[in-house]
């Protein structure tokens, strides 16, 4: 394969030599790769706008009720939140390692790194579930059962805060679950030896997704857990 841009086409439209990774409607592997990357980045842009709606609502209400939001944020468990932040950052590292191993052609390492990422992702969700249970036990889930333990003057905007908390972290957790689903597909495909140093686009694209979900949390964590720490 001298020039990957111009692979000869075989009977089925795929390249005549090498694995049939080239889909019939592309002219070259480079073109196919460009399309995937651009598509993935565009998808991430839509995700930014999707979360953006919630971040906007958060910003406006926090601006309207700064004291109540700070007060409500003191009912977060900062230790669990910090742990989860660390867990996610490490999972981004293992994910990056998985992509790196795939690119370097070290196929044996792909699955261990993917598995580590999944383990960390599951840990995150476990800790999140503990937090949710605690909040619900303390009547902090909005709605008829909501009962605010802090100063009653903050009670109603605090319910807004918790509405946002559950909506934003819930949507984030949903993205984590989808991410775990994607990673399990990657594991299965890696076991079948689908990915090579030359072609491992799905691992790369899934890596972008995983980092994105991670970054969303990096924003959520201070906005939800830490504001009570500096507003007095």
């Amino acid at each position: 394969m001298a020039d990957p841009r111009r692979l000869p086409h075989g009977e089925d439209g795929g390249p005549a030599t090498g694995p049939g990774y080239l889909q019939h409607h592309f002219e070259s592997l480079v073109q196919q790769k460009d399309a995937s990357s651009l598509g993935m980045w565009l998808f991430l842009v839509t995700e930014i706008l999707f979360f953006g709606g919630l971040f906007l609502v958060y910003t406006i209400y926090r601006w309207s009720y700064p004291l109540a939001f700070a007060d409500a944020s003191r009912h977060m468990d900062v230790r669990l939140g910090t742990t989860n932040t660390a867990v996610l950052i490490i999972s981004s590292l293992t994910m990056a390692m998985a992509v790196h191993s795939a690119a370097a052609g070290r196929r044996r390492l792909i699955i261990p790194f993917l598995a580590a990422t999944m383990l960390l992702g599951t840990t995150f969700l476990g800790i999140k579930a503990i937090e949710y249970t605690e909040h619900i036990r303390h009547h902090l889930f909005p709605g008829p059962w909501f009962h605010y333990p802090g100063p009653q003057i903050h009670a109603r905007p605090a319910e807004l805060f918790f509405s946002l908390y559950f909506a934003m972290t819930g949507l984030h957790a949903l993205h984590m679950v989808i991410g775990l689903g994607i990673l399990s597909v990657l594991v299965v495909q890696s076991r079948r030896g689908r990915y090579t140093g030359q072609w491992h686009t799905p691992i790369e694209m899934s890596g972008l997704y995983w980092h994105f979900v991670d970054i969303v949390w990096i924003f959520l964590f201070p906005l939800l857990y830490l504001i009570g720490r500096h507003v007095h």
């Binding site: 409607h25 002219e27 073109q31 651009l38 598509g39 998808f43 839509t46 999707f50 309207s64 807004l160």
Partner: protein, 544 residues
């Protein structure tokens, strides 16, 4: 666009085109061919067009008389809500992009398919699942919030299946995101050798701009409807005034998508008109780059004007003034297009074929719709006519007079390519005339009604408005006939129509340089592009 080869209309051999390569339901439901997926969309949106039309018919029948006699006000509220939801989200937004765009963009850029054929098929399935939710809501009693879902009506007060309908729209939104994403990636990465950006047909430019809106706007409406949904189901108080939440914030988020969405509906139609006008005037489009950039300008400016829907919603006067000013700006690129189409026709050799009739209709009606948009963008005027029939007339001039005329014009123009058959020209001209007359009879009286103060969204009205309402209902019936006729002859032509040559309009577009209907791979040999998109007479040749 001169391609390297220009195949003649060859006699049809069996199994040589995308329609007859394979038969059977499975070959359609599992296809990844953009052309077949376009036809799947065509069938589905046609269904929703007639469903939405049925609701419209009932609305107009109720308004035939001043009293609320045919339906109760609750039913009436549901009728106009379902009409709006079905027509906007399930017909007009997917219409031109998902049918004609899907079919034509790969052919116009000399590609074999869209960049992601499987996503393309997935987008249709997502659309169907979303439609299923909404249909469930319709069958089980409907919704009465208006297509706008304003809070707290939608979150706390409304009866009916708000959640199911919102979920349906939410899901369908992803089909439009995927379509937009697919188009952008395709246009960036899959152009034929020699096909530079400024050799792209204007239809492709307008779809590029549309796709930008789909990709950047749709996620916002999705998350907004999600918030309404969780507020209704889980009592998360995101817009709840009882908790200090802000219902007007919902309106901001809603219109941040829904104003740009009106350009999702009109930009593709503008693309159709650009192609039709130049072909049937046999003259190069006047000011190609202006028309191309106007599409992008509309997409960008369209994101900055949403506040003009909220002049009386309690937004600050200063915000209102800024939004008013910005709304005037959007009219500039729109006007550029209208002037350039007119200049293209000037001294052109115009033929009065059906697509061109629709183009004439579009230009006139869109101009009226756009100019009345400027009335509405004027703060002081809008305070008077907001929420009256004037608004209803304004947006129907654009969405029905503009977008649907563009859609029908495009369907006629590309029908020979899509089906391999010619439609009957006489009937088609007749139907175009009926549509034009019916449309104006339906909607012009509504401008007057609104100006006189008849509010929208009520099932009864004072008797002095009856004459104009009767005119409108009569017009709607004529319009309905005008829409049914093309349905019939398109279906008829599939079987009995004359075989279409490769290029019946002697167009220079790349999509006409292959057989009708095209083979699955679109072109027997991948084309190489060596010239501009429109190779008709130039301005100086004609005007001298």
């Amino acid at each position: 666009m001169a391609a390297e080869f220009i195949p003649e209309a060859e006699p049809l051999h069996p199994r040589d085109n995308y329609l007859n390569v394979r038969y059977g339901v499975g070959s359609w439901l599992l296809t990844r061919d953009h052309k077949r997926i376009a036809l799947l969309y065509l069938a589905s949106i046609t269904f929703f067009f007639f469903l939405g039309g049925l609701f419209a018919l009932l609305i107009r029948l109720e308004l035939l008389t001043p009293g609320g006699d045919l339906v109760q006000s609750e039913t009436y509220n549901k009728l106009f809500t379902m009409h709006g939801v079905v027509m906007i989200f399930f017909f007009l937004i997917p219409s031109i992009p998902a049918v004609l765009g899907n079919f034509l963009i790969p052919m116009m850029i000399g590609a074999k398919d869209l960049a992601f054929p499987r996503l393309n098929l997935l987008s249709w399935y997502i659309y169907i699942v979303g439609a299923a939710f909404t249909m469930w809501a319709v069958v089980h009693g409907g919704v009465d919030t208006g297509w706008t879902f304003y809070t707290p009506l939608s979150t706390a007060a409304a009866n009916g299946h708000v959640v199911a309908t919102a979920v349906g729209i939410f899901i369908t939104g992803f089909s439009s995101i995927l379509t937009g994403l697919n188009f952008i990636v395709t246009i960036h990465t899959m152009r034929a050798p020699g096909l530079t950006w400024f050799r792209l047909p204007l239809f492709v430019w307008s779809h590029y701009a549309t796709s930008l809106i789909m990709v950047l706007g749709t996620p916002v409406i999705a998350v907004t409807l999600l918030m309404v949904g969780v507020e209704r189901i889980f009592h998360l108080g995101l817009f709840d005034p009882a908790l200090g939440g802000d219902p007007v914030l919902f309106q901001h988020l809603f219109w941040f998508y829904s104003h740009p969405a009106v350009y999702i509906m009109i930009l593709p139609a503008m693309g159709v008109i650009s192609e039709v006008v130049t072909t049937f005037s046999r003259k190069n489009i006047f000011g190609y780059r202006f028309v191309a950039f106007a599409s992008v300008a509309i997409a960008v400016l369209g994101f900055l004007v949403w506040g003009h829907h909220m002049f009386v919603s309690g937004q600050s006067v200063y915000a209102g003034m800024i939004f008013s000013l910005l709304s005037f700006l959007v009219a500039i690129p729109s006007a550029i297009k209208v002037f350039n189409w007119t200049a293209t026709m000037y001294r052109g050799s115009i033929s009065w074929r059906t697509p061109m009739l629709y183009a004439f209709g579009f230009i006139g009606l869109f101009t009226i719709g756009g100019l009345t948009g400027l009335f509405l963008a004027t703060l002081g005027v809008d305070v008077h006519v907001h929420d009256t029939y004037f608004i209803v007339a304004h947006f129907h001039y654009i969405m029905v007079g503009g977008a649907i005329m563009g859609y029908l014009g495009g369907m006629h123009y590309w029908w020979p390519k899509i089906s391999g058959k010619m439609y009957p020209e006489g009937w088609a001209r007749f139907a175009a005339l009926i549509v034009f007359i019916g449309f104006n009879l339906t909607f012009f009286p509504q401008f007057v009604l609104g100006y006189l103060g008849m509010p929208r969204r009520y099932h009864a009205y004072p008797p002095e408005f009856q004459v104009l309402n009767v005119m409108s209902t009569a017009g709607a019936s004529v319009l309905g006939v005008g829409y049914v006729i093309p349905m019939i002859y398109f279906a008829w032509s599939m079987r009995y129509g004359k075989n279409a040559p490769a290029n019946p309009w002697r167009s220079t577009g790349l999509e006409w340089q292959t057989t009708s209907p095209p083979p699955t791979e679109n072109f027997p040999v991948p084309p190489v592009v060596t010239s501009e998109p429109y190779v008709y007479a130039t301005e100086s040749e004609v005007v001298g």
